[in-house]
């Protein structure tokens, strides 16, 4: 091939998005997809900000605040801030407030707080990786995390009354996020020299794991199925709460537990995200690691394919594995120096753990 052009091409391949830039862009795209409509700032500031706000969805006061305060560069830079940095307050009290305000339905609110909780966990990961997870930082993060988790809980309670399937989906996704990040924080903490950081990261990982268990709503939803005259199966889901049993009826054509199916769908889309991220930076990994991760992805893919007719526990494991892969793959991209892959949480052999 033409030497000149291949040299040129090689040179240009140095031009790419930094992982922070990618993260922010991905975030903006996800926000647009979640909000269901393109929300775009009608006012172009000196640098067009990565945050897009629609004046219809935000109260006039909030909008005025946002316009006054958000300079494009600041909002963008703040996204990467962690506790202890100047812009962290901006990130939490401006950028995230906007996202919270934009969420109207209970489902949207639950989503936002799940995301915000994940952001706290990611910040903990960054700090751990730097050896800077002080006791104060950990306490701050844990407190905020607990706030978000509590919000998720209360929104889920509201959602449960109308749509127990959606409620169970949100809960299990949050639970798998807690489990996955807990594993990652533990992993990152292992290599850290600073004793305080190591200790705090272990504590935080344990706390997250506990919180995840408390979320599990396995016992709360029970399902009865009755075949009617027409041959359709009427499925009734009962949510047991202290006050009363609330039911919702869904007619299904199959025997599948609707909750399990929904969890399976989440597992599948999470795995696809993991696969997409992996494909994007596979070339930066050494061949052996890449092969092993591929096997893990494949194994999880197989697990998801064969979920039909299995118990809810199996569905939940599939979701947890998919989420763990995603979290670890994303982290490997971010923390290039560390060796995080393949994650030990997922076995590689067939019939393995």
């Amino acid at each position: 091939m033409n030497k000149f052009f291949s040299q040129l091409k090689k040179e240009t391949h140095g031009i790419q998005l930094t992982s922070k830039e990618r993260e922010v862009m991905r975030h903006a795209l996800e926000s647009a997809m979640r909000s269901g409509s393109l929300v775009k700032s009608p006012i172009r500031l000196t640098r067009s900000p990565y945050l897009f706000i629609s004046s219809k969805l935000v109260s006039p006061l909030a909008f005025a605040l946002v316009v006054a305060v958000i300079g494009g560069g600041t909002a963008y830079a703040a996204e990467a801030a962690v506790p202890g940095e100047l812009l962290y307050t901006f990130k939490v009290q401006v950028n995230e407030k906007v996202a919270e305000v934009l969420a109207i339905s209970s489902e949207a609110k639950a989503e936002v707080h799940t995301k915000l909780a994940e952001r706290r966990m990611k910040e903990a990961e960054v700090l751990t990786s730097r050896g800077e997870l002080t006791t104060e930082a950990k306490t701050e993060l844990e407190t905020r995390l607990e706030d978000h988790a509590a919000r998720v809980d209360s929104e889920v309670e509201v959602i449960e009354r109308e749509d127990p399937v959606a409620a169970a989906d949100i809960s299990s996704r949050f639970e798998s996020a807690l489990a996955a990040h807990s594993a990652l924080i533990e992993r990152l903490g292992e290599e850290v020299e600073d004793e305080t950081s190591r200790r705090e990261s272990v504590r935080l990982a344990a706390a997250l794991k506990e919180r995840g268990k408390r979320l599990a709503r396995g016992g709360a939803v029970s399902i009865t199925a009755e075949r009617s005259v027409s041959g359709d199966i009427a499925v009734q889901t009962f949510v047991k709460s202290d006050e009363s049993a609330i039911t919702a009826s869904i007619v299904l054509e199959a025997n599948d537990d609707p909750v399990a199916v929904r969890i399976g769908e989440s597992a599948s889309s999470t795995l696809e995200e993991a696969e997409a991220r992996f494909n994007a930076f596979e070339k930066n990994l050494n061949a052996t690691t890449a092969e092993r991760v591929k096997k893990q992805l494949q194994k999880t893919r197989e697990l998801i394919k064969n979920l039909h007719g299995k118990d809810k526990e199996v569905y939940e494991k599939a979701l947890k594995d998919a989420k763990t892969l995603k979290v670890f793959i994303e982290a490997q991209e971010k923390f290039e120096q560390r060796e995080l892959l393949p994650t030990l949480e997922i076995g590689e052999e067939e019939g393995g753990r």
């Binding site: 033409n2 030497k3 000149f4 052009f5 291949s6 040299q7 040129l8 091409k9 090689k10 040179e11 240009t12 391949h13 031009i15 790419q16 998005l17 830039e21 990618r22 862009m25 991905r26 903006a28 795209l29 647009a32 997809m33 393109l38 775009k40 640098r47 067009s48 990565y50 897009f52 769908e265 889309s269 696809e272 995200e273 997409a276 991220r277 494909n279 994007a280």
Partner: protein, 173 residues
């Protein structure tokens, strides 16, 4: 809706870097290139979520990016006169030799490609566009033609002129 979301995420992971690279080659400002890349994906999402069909994602994204870059140049007239005027000097593109080789491309081999990036940035955007699409983004002449809405002949001529200019620039260094 989930399928669309999925294919979008996938498209982002696959193409974000190369789109950004293309924008960064065409624009003098990295930040602007970032913004346009993001805007490109958001527009594509808007299009798809309205139910419009996107048959091939990669060319679609490049076309969208291209429109954004054109708008950018239109707005900022302070950029040099890279405007889309092109005189037809009655020039025939270099006929490919019968063995399929292109002597002008071969002639570039004299130079160090890794230093050529700077020179490329000095070319008029009209040529930068096709050179980037051909030699960095790996589009075929036909694909470039359909992306920029010109005939393959026009694309060939532009490539030819772009290479000539690049050659001259590198030689004078």
């Amino acid at each position: 809706m989930r399928d669309i979301e999925r294919s979008f995420r996938d498209a982002f992971e696959r193409h974000a870097d190369e789109l950004f690279r293309h924008a960064a080659l065409r624009l003098p400002d990295r930040d602007r290139a970032l913004e346009l890349t993001q805007e490109c994906f958001l527009r594509a999402w808007g299009y798809a979520s309205r139910g419009e069909e996107i048959r091939e994602m990669r060319p679609f994204l490049f076309r969208t990016l291209r429109h954004l870059i054109i708008d950018e140049y239109r707005k900022a007239k302070s950029f040099s006169l890279d405007e889309m005027t092109e005189t037809d000097e009655g020039e025939q593109r270099d006929a490919l030799l019968s063995d399929g080789s292109n002597p002008l491309e071969e002639a570039m081999n004299r130079f160090d490609g890794s230093r050529a990036l700077r020179a490329i940035r000095e070319l008029p955007d009209l040529y930068r566009e096709v050179l980037a699409m051909r030699y960095v983004d790996d589009f075929s002449i036909g694909e470039i033609a359909s992306c920029i809405g010109q005939s393959e002949n026009v694309v060939s001529v532009r490539l030819h002129r772009g290479l000539k200019m690049l050659h001259a620039l590198l030689e004078s260094e």
